[in-house]
Symmetry: C3
Subunit: 146 residues, 3 copies
């Protein structure tokens, strides 16, 4: 077992932290907890996703985006789930963390069927605030768009 060096144990701690961070963050989103979700981003976070006409910067814009989507889903009688995984994690010398991962968004019609809605690649830069991770920049691309 000499192959598992102490640094690997530390990388493993980071890897688990990253996974726990995303699990909690995405569950907040799917629960429409807009403010709590926004607090998982830095104050001035940059958020660039294909569903928004232009990148958002800062939490008020994030909160507004969640509220809009929540209202649209309620009207359509649908639920969305953001299922992330495949986290490719690289720590920078300054402690920032690059994470490239996949997200499948599922859509369920209440009283109907569940299906794949979107397949996305998510490229984040995470930083720390009092030890906790926060997203400072997020760039999402969709597989169905050129």
């Amino acid at each position: 077992m000499t192959t598992i060096a102490p640094t690997t144990t530390q990388q493993a701690a980071l890897y688990a932290q990253v996974q726990q961070f995303y699990a909690h963050q995405m569950q907040l989103l799917d629960l429409a907890e807009a403010e709590l979700w926004a607090e998982t981003f830095t104050e001035d976070a940059s958020f660039d996703v294909p569903t928004l006409p232009e990148p958002v910067r800062g939490r008020p814009g994030l909160i507004a985006a969640v509220r809009r989507t929540t209202a649209q889903l309620a009207e359509a009688g649908q639920r969305h789930r953001h299922f992330m995984g495949m986290f490719d994690v690289t720590e920078r010398p300054d402690g920032a963390v690059d994470v490239r991962s996949y997200t499948t968004v599922y859509a369920s019609q209440i009283g109907g069927e569940s299906k794949v809605h979107r397949v996305c690649v998510c490229e984040d830069v995470l930083v720390r605030s009092d030890g906790a991770l926060q997203v400072s920049t997020r760039k999402v691309t969709r597989d169905d768009l050129a």
Copy 2:
């Protein structure tokens, strides 16, 4: 790297254990290993899922449920896979572990297509028996149900 405290290493160990537990548990289910699967629950576990008319308590009911589903799938020429992820893990002071996670169930027609069957949220309480994790209560909700 001072941001990764010893407690985080311990939380990371728990996080990995939880993931390994679910991977093994769900593979046992999909392999129709009813008895081995039931042993990943406590003797008096409570199991509340939308596919059952009422909550099951205890292993005999769990085993019966797996056997029923296995027979139905065989008759229909289908395979199911339970793909869990997004584990939001919280340890209680007494050592019990709350886990809220997502499960996608895929259905494949043998000789046909694979598709999303169900998208579920799974809320478990895990406890320890000789160090190993066991489910003491499970509550599953389906995104397509009101």
Copy 3:
């Protein structure tokens, strides 16, 4: 917290390493980085997947397979994503690692829809080369095939 023994911390390090390995390996595949992807296998790796008429042995065959698929996807205007998870990890006394896991392959038509393409079970044997993990044998089965 006495339930988390030192060995579990070491198992957790392995578990994180395995997850990071697969995240990176599959992202290389989906990026069509054929050579870099092939280097995540041992020189004489055995690769047995249903999409190939017979098992491949060694990196040149792996590289050729990726290039073929890449060309087919480009012609069809599609993207594939390999989303792995549910890693059931067992370390052998000699340090080799058995991993049984699930892979969902998503297909997206560029300008169209995203959907489940395949649901697979992946059985790997991983070995170490200078500390890094490599696949020495891979056997993939598809849920839609008998």
